[in-house]
């Protein structure tokens, strides 16, 4: 489980350079899932015919091609957001999470491969969406959603009046707050392990 958390945390790094709005999180998560789904299906289709180093090259080319295609579709639906995200839309295709997961062996049917990979992708998406929602609330005091003319934000705190919120919305603020969250998570996990061990000792 810990290895999975590390992998999620590493994949979550692709959300850090993105402006801390929930709307951008939704778009990137959607793109991530679609690229992941297409990548899994593609790997399953070609794994018998292309092997070795060539397989990684073909997979990467396919994932980038898929990102180009999906970006073109997204331009029609959310043109302003796609313009704002720019090159960041190609980041999910090259994330360690996708490259590791699509190459995973152990499934005999396509359905099995998709259900196994999409379960991981769903967990990551949940993590990423909660993370982006927290960033939006803490940094801008709003919840935003993607719209045709940009983002639609529901403002409930005036973040300009609170300097600490402006820091949280910035890039260094995001890195520091994410790191602090990770450290707190490890600390809480350690505490739970101690309590668990103590419980076992008492039972004995």
């Amino acid at each position: 489980m810990n290895k999975k958390i590390v992998l999620y945390a590493s994949a979550l790094m692709l959300m850090i350079p993105v402006p801390g709005r929930f709307a951008y999180g939704i778009i990137l998560t959607l793109l991530f899932n679609l690229v992941f789904l297409a990548g899994t299906s593609f790997v399953f289709a070609v794994r018998k015919y292309i092997t070795g180093t060539m397989q990684s090259v073909v997979i990467m080319t396919f994932l980038i091609g898929m990102s180009v295609f999906l970006k073109d579709i997204l331009i029609f639906i959310f043109p302003v957001i796609v313009l704002q995200l720019g090159v960041l839309l190609y980041f999910p295709a090259l994330s360690v999470f996708i490259l590791t997961a699509v190459n995973r062996k152990g499934s005999s049917t396509l359905q099995e491969a998709i259900s196994m990979n999409m379960k991981d992708s769903g967990c990551f998406s949940l993590f990423a969406l909660i993370y982006m929602l927290l960033r939006d609330i803490a940094g801008y005091g709003s919840i935003s959603f993607p719209g045709f003319n940009g983002i639609l934000a529901v403002q409930f705190i005036n973040s300009a009046k609170i300097p600490f919120m402006c820091f949280l919305a910035s890039l260094p603020g995001t890195i520091i707050s994410s790191t602090v969250m990770a450290v707190l998570y490890i600390h809480v996990q350690k505490m739970f392990t101690i309590i668990e061990r103590a419980g076992i000792t008492d039972e004995k």
Partner: protein, 185 residues
């Protein structure tokens, strides 16, 4: 050109501000054994693939109205040049996934953000420079932290990331510093 170079290498470092390889830089800074070989390889592959991709985008894709396709052309060219470079430098090392992604994203940024052929060259070189300026700094920080007695919670790369955030603040501080001639004419 000089301002472009310093902008992408330091002030708006591609690693720190664009977040390109933010997670991979921590992995790449663990050992400096292959630092110079990797640097040499990236200094050859990234500018050459960026240049070729920019020429194809400018001369073929733009007139055909297919600019959106440039990442696809970019990855094909990048893989070909990278493979040639690997064959020539077989003695050195195999290309890692981290290195591949960072190099490719550098190429994408260089092609995406430039309007002239000289700009492509300068931006691609400064992207690679920003990466290789940061690796020794993080390596030094890692060594310094390994000497300290830290809490278990901080024993993973947590403090490295906080260090990266401090680097960003330090580099951005110049924009609001009174020493900046833009502030005090």
């Amino acid at each position: 050109m000089k301002s472009d170079f310093f902008y992408y290498a330091l002030i708006s470092s591609t690693v720190l501000m664009y977040g390109l390889g933010l997670n991979r830089i921590s992995y790449m800074s663990r050992h400096l054994d292959k630092y110079f070989v990797t640097a040499l390889k990236m200094y050859i592959v990234v500018p050459s693939s960026s240049l070729l991709c920019w020429i194809i985008t400018d001369k073929l894709l733009t007139p055909a109205g297919m600019v959106q396709m440039f990442p696809f052309i970019c990855i094909i060219l990048f893989i070909c040049i990278s493979a040639c470079c690997e064959m020539l430098m077989r003695m050195a090392a195999d290309i890692t996934t981290a290195e591949f992604s960072i190099s490719f994203l550098c190429t994408l940024i260089a092609v995406n953000e430039s309007s002239t052929i000289m700009e492509v060259l300068v931006i691609s070189l400064s992207c690679v420079t920003s990466l290789f300026l940061l690796i020794p700094l993080i390596y030094a920080l890692r060594i310094r932290l390994s000497v300290c007695s830290l809490f278990v919670e901080f024993k993973n790369d947590s403090l490295i990331y906080i260090g990266l955030a401090i680097f960003i603040i330090a580099l951005s501080a110049w924009n609001i510093s009174w020493l900046n001639p833009g502030v005090l004419p």
